[in-house]
């Protein structure tokens, strides 16, 4: 029934932190880590790898940087079953600021890039591989990429050494049929690589689209607890784990940590299905306008937002 090659990646702290500048307490991160350990999750993405010179610690919490001393503080004293991942954005991390794998608790680095950054991403990814990490490249916002550019990027990626390439629906714009089409395209263009999927939930399709990807042979699956993440959030990890038939997974630890750590955050930040996020998803736009609206004191004035971002031809 289950496919042993499937790996589940929890993005709670990394993607959720986009909503609160990674201002999670140590207790929050430690409890998520323990839950991932207990639930059989394969990877926990604990934050971003960023150069300390690129951002201020006065503004950003520790998981914008993933310094080893911060990681040690939250994972110490417990057997480490889940592997740890950090994301690296092109231009926000210097090669020299990345520690050797032998000096880090991180197991995997995921390099996020837009299509025009593929060459830079491959260079950074190779550097991380040479330092000893498992590495992925996550090609973002492909819903806005034309066919020729996409084919060129996939061709470049097919020639690199990076073994795992992610299909990312950054804007929550894809329907399952799009995921079918693109999963097949990625598998054909990258026959020697493993494909991953990261979805956003603007149209309540993150879980459904992840299932579509699974059916098409995609094996690295991103989710987050209760879907916490930027804007409409991600594929809910508890739904994904309850769907997968691999007996190594357990749902109860995820329910426990949602109760103790995530539900309190629902009262402080607004991720999930809200009409402004739905509208940018339908329009295939970056969610920044919706996030600004949701952070304003006019967040329930959704008709104003509709009128602001639509034209007479795209959505009526």
């Amino acid at each position: 029934m289950f496919r042993p090659q499937i790996k589940v990646v929890d993005c709670t702290v990394r993607d959720g932190g986009l909503m609160n500048k990674w201002q999670f307490t140590d207790e929050f991160v430690r409890t998520v880590y323990t839950a991932c350990n207990q639930a059989g999750i394969d990877y926990m993405e604990i934050g971003y790898l960023s150069s300390e010179s690129a951002f201020s610690r006065d503004e950003m919490g520790p998981w914008k940087f993933c310094a080893e001393k911060d990681i040690q503080r939250v994972i110490g004293g417990e057997e480490k079953k889940v592997k740890l991942s950090a994301m690296a954005d092109i231009g926000r991390i210097e090669f020299d600021d990345i520690p050797l794998k032998s000096e880090s608790s991180l197991d995997m680095v995921r390099v996020a890039c837009y299509v025009h950054q593929v060459d830079a991403a491959i260079a950074l990814a190779h550097h991380c591989m040479d330092k000893g990490y498992e590495v992925t490249i996550n090609l973002m916002a492909v819903s806005t990429v034309g066919l020729r550019d996409l084919e060129e990027a996939l061709n470049d990626l097919s020639k690199c050494r990076v073994p795992i390439i992610y299909l990312v629906d950054s804007f929550g714009a894809f329907y399952s049929e799009d995921i079918d089409t693109l999963s097949k395209k990625y598998m054909e263009a990258l026959p020697d690589k493993t494909i991953g999927i990261h979805c956003h939930n603007n149209q309540q399709l993150a879980f459904a689209n992840t299932i579509s990807a699974i059916i098409n042979g995609v094996n690295y699956l991103d989710g987050s607890l209760y879907g916490i993440g930027r804007g409409a959030g991600n594929c809910p990890l508890e739904l994904l784990v309850s769907f997968l038939k691999n007996p190594k997974f357990r749902v109860r630890p995820l329910i426990e940590v949602i109760e103790s750590q995530i539900i309190p955050w629902t009262k402080r930040i607004d991720w999930g299905y809200y009409i402004p996020y739905m509208i940018t998803g339908v329009l295939n736009q970056h969610p920044r306008s919706a996030m600004a609206h949701m952070e304003s004191d006019r967040k329930e004035q959704i008709t104003d937002f509709f009128n602001q971002v639509t034209t007479s031809t795209d959505l009526v």
Copy 2:
């Protein structure tokens, strides 16, 4: 691009009323009606047809009964473009209490039944057809029906005069692959009939499953504004309409009525994606235990609910 046979049915008042005993103001129902008119929605299900002797008006709002005088009060003074529907439950309406179509503003009656009630449903449905209505039979909770019982029910339905038969995922238990399989089965067993779909959103799959049904040729599609409905709610109408490519549909009137009428209700009743509803969906159970938990003062104690409804073998 679009399929002209597709009809969209708004269930906001009927299914949403399951959460507040149909205690909607006239202004609420009138505004939803106006929005459906403006948005090009094909049918608005305004409530249930019930005998006045079966329920008390002290407890239930007018849309539990759909008396003509109540309907007239909310639809008067505006050109009626959207057709009106009411649902009839077996055993809660006497034949004699159903008015002739010529004396009613209702256009359609949808007869809801469980599999063991199919004969009674056919009798009631034929009675409604003979009184002049468009009629559907909505076979509920098929996720709990065994193959032999389902085939027998579909065989009975294939021989009746009712032209439209609904596939209903009452518990929000189905994945899109289930909808694929069942849509094909309904289409094969009922080649002369139109098939409809009504989904619940316990696993955030109501919209995705509705799309799966569309792909398989299902033509009557249920949704509700912002997904309002029992428990986890329904397929969000605004998502469905933004997906369909028929230029007769408009999204903006739906956004306006969500702002003015639905968002205020989000502060009073808890429909949508909550963990108790997710758990009953995964377990393929009626949501009543989850609804009771959500109405208690312990609604955020979701681990207790998990422990209460699961066993050591069904979800761990």
